[in-house]
Symmetry: C2
Subunit: 396 residues, 2 copies
Amino acid sequence: MINEKMYQLGSKRSTIREIFEYAKTRAAEIGADKVFDFSIGNPSVPAPKQVNDSILRIVNEMPSVALHGYTSAQGDKTVRDTIAANYTRRFGVPLCGDDLYMTCGAAASLTITFKALANVGDEFITFAPFFPEYGVFVATSGATLTVLKSDSKTMQPDFEALEQAISPKTKGVLINSPNNPSGVVYGVETMRRLTDLLKQKSAEYGAPIYLISDEPYRELVYDKETIVPCPMAYYDNTIVCYSYSKSLSMPGERIGYVAVNPKAADAKAVYAAVCGAGRALGFVCAPALFQRVAAECDGLTADLSVYKRNRDLLYNGLTECGFTCVYPDGAFYLFMKAAEEDAAAFCERAKKYELLLVNGADFGAPGWVRIAYCVQTDLIERALPLFKELAKEYNL
Amino acid sequence: MINEKMYQLGSKRSTIREIFEYAKTRAAEIGADKVFDFSIGNPSVPAPKQVNDSILRIVNEMPSVALHGYTSAQGDKTVRDTIAANYTRRFGVPLCGDDLYMTCGAAASLTITFKALANVGDEFITFAPFFPEYGVFVATSGATLTVLKSDSKTMQPDFEALEQAISPKTKGVLINSPNNPSGVVYGVETMRRLTDLLKQKSAEYGAPIYLISDEPYRELVYDKETIVPCPMAYYDNTIVCYSYSKSLSMPGERIGYVAVNPKAADAKAVYAAVCGAGRALGFVCAPALFQRVAAECDGLTADLSVYKRNRDLLYNGLTECGFTCVYPDGAFYLFMKAAEEDAAAFCERAKKYELLLVNGADFGAPGWVRIAYCVQTDLIERALPLFKELAKEYNL
């Protein structure tokens, strides 16, 4: 009687949530310090001090009706102008406030973008491993999501597979770099090959194939030599979906944006469709106070040194144990090969040591597990001897 | 190429927005004090002091990671429990936290509810005059919206029309009381007749017809004798869509809730579908800080005496001029009969006096105009002599 798909989506907890709930129960049984929950991608580092400073100053200074009133649907003009100017300064591509649409975070940025672009029957392409909610968000637009494999060592896109998969139905290609769950970054070489292919195919079909770049982890990279290329600098038909959730450690406040490259084909029409999709989905405007906080704190980050320390500790520790890991350039996830073919069985065995990992099959990558290292550093220190025990069971 | 419907929605400004923009241009030309903009339903009274007090205290007291982190998708448990307990105390119907789903305001509450309930081909029914975005929100769910007329004097539902319109395709009836744009309240008598009919028809078809009650103006009533009946007390299959935008004067912050009556048929499944729809549309969770502010300020209101003064001044002034007005029990809108058949022509003539009104045709009520009185009181005082001039033109 009610909508069955929505019922299914709402009643079936994600595997990650299941593990998270299990961790809470287990902690109550044996003590929180004995449970090693690596399941959830929740920032563990506080927001930079400027976030709360900004909230307090704005609330104390701005008149209530102006502060808490509606902003324009696309976001406060000063906020958009500020963020666009920063973007241009940081990445060297021209962007103005009228190319930006403020959203309630990355999920909203994505549902709005898919809905703006897609007609029923259209297709978006992404690469495994991938964030499984992409499938849900694409479905809302009436389009379908095709998932292609990546190179199993580098986790970079398989370009042959991509070339074969692109068809006149392909409305866009969705990338996520730094990647959840693999932690890899698509570097300059990948960006060049990818966008060259998209240019060639767009020309062949006489219609733009949009590059949708989901970038909540953009600032979360840990080595000097790691550069996250700005996709707009490589490809005109780019739409960036950004969120401040991870960079500013405030995922609960729901603030981000969609940026439509002004050089995109029919950029003004695409932007209008983004506004229309925001309206149709019920967003009205992004939260007003946090629009202003985001503009004031744009470009800042939480203390990333904690994540870097965690990454180094975990990557070095696990490879020393004999596990095969993808080197995580960024985000706060490490992707590790399960020590047996059945990753579910491997996760179950890890559970005996109270090590809670997420099966890579949930991200379209069977045989792998995801380890979220946005945790307290001492949890990793205490977990490593247990990983060593686990490795021994497999004679690694 | 892109989605044409979304492009249309995003590129065609609403009439209200057109007038709002015209007002700004006109103010620059002749001075802001000479333009009488009655177009926009933006609260003109500051948020109650407790809103900012609450923001400051929470930000100063809560650890950053807990405050700004994700809440559960349905909203923070303590927040939901608090609001549900208040609801039960205020309205005398049993509600618990697990019946509440926190949202990004009324628009989100509605898109989520329609999406949760509807299958393609289903129908929702509402009554003119009505908020025109309802059509947009229902369309997102794949259902259609049928608009029935109201009694032209009382603006209460036409029950004969409703009885004829309900069919096995009717998934729900949508009401909005106090009403935008008419300002009327559906009293006890209306609520009884409406819910009796819904009970009878639900029984006849063997399937629940949901009552969806859009209540952003619930607290905005001005006479002691005006009571806004709690629909859950009359009808089990009720879903309440609430927003704090108007009661707490913070429409920009986007916070509200969906409440599923625990006595509804398949209440748990309906609630799960609400959770699923929130997920599918990209909401993740409602803004975390403002969830907590809403819980602390639930039941408070901005200073409504300003709206009451405005309403009395405007209603008395306009009826004295000879205009026919619906007595506005609540919200902050007054619905007035245009003094000629063509309300558009009437609005144009009013414009000569710099009186900016909204054509009722935009709300499904041709021949009427909406006057939003959420303005500074002196604007009404200065406008009344101009309305008198306008009335003279029509020999009222």
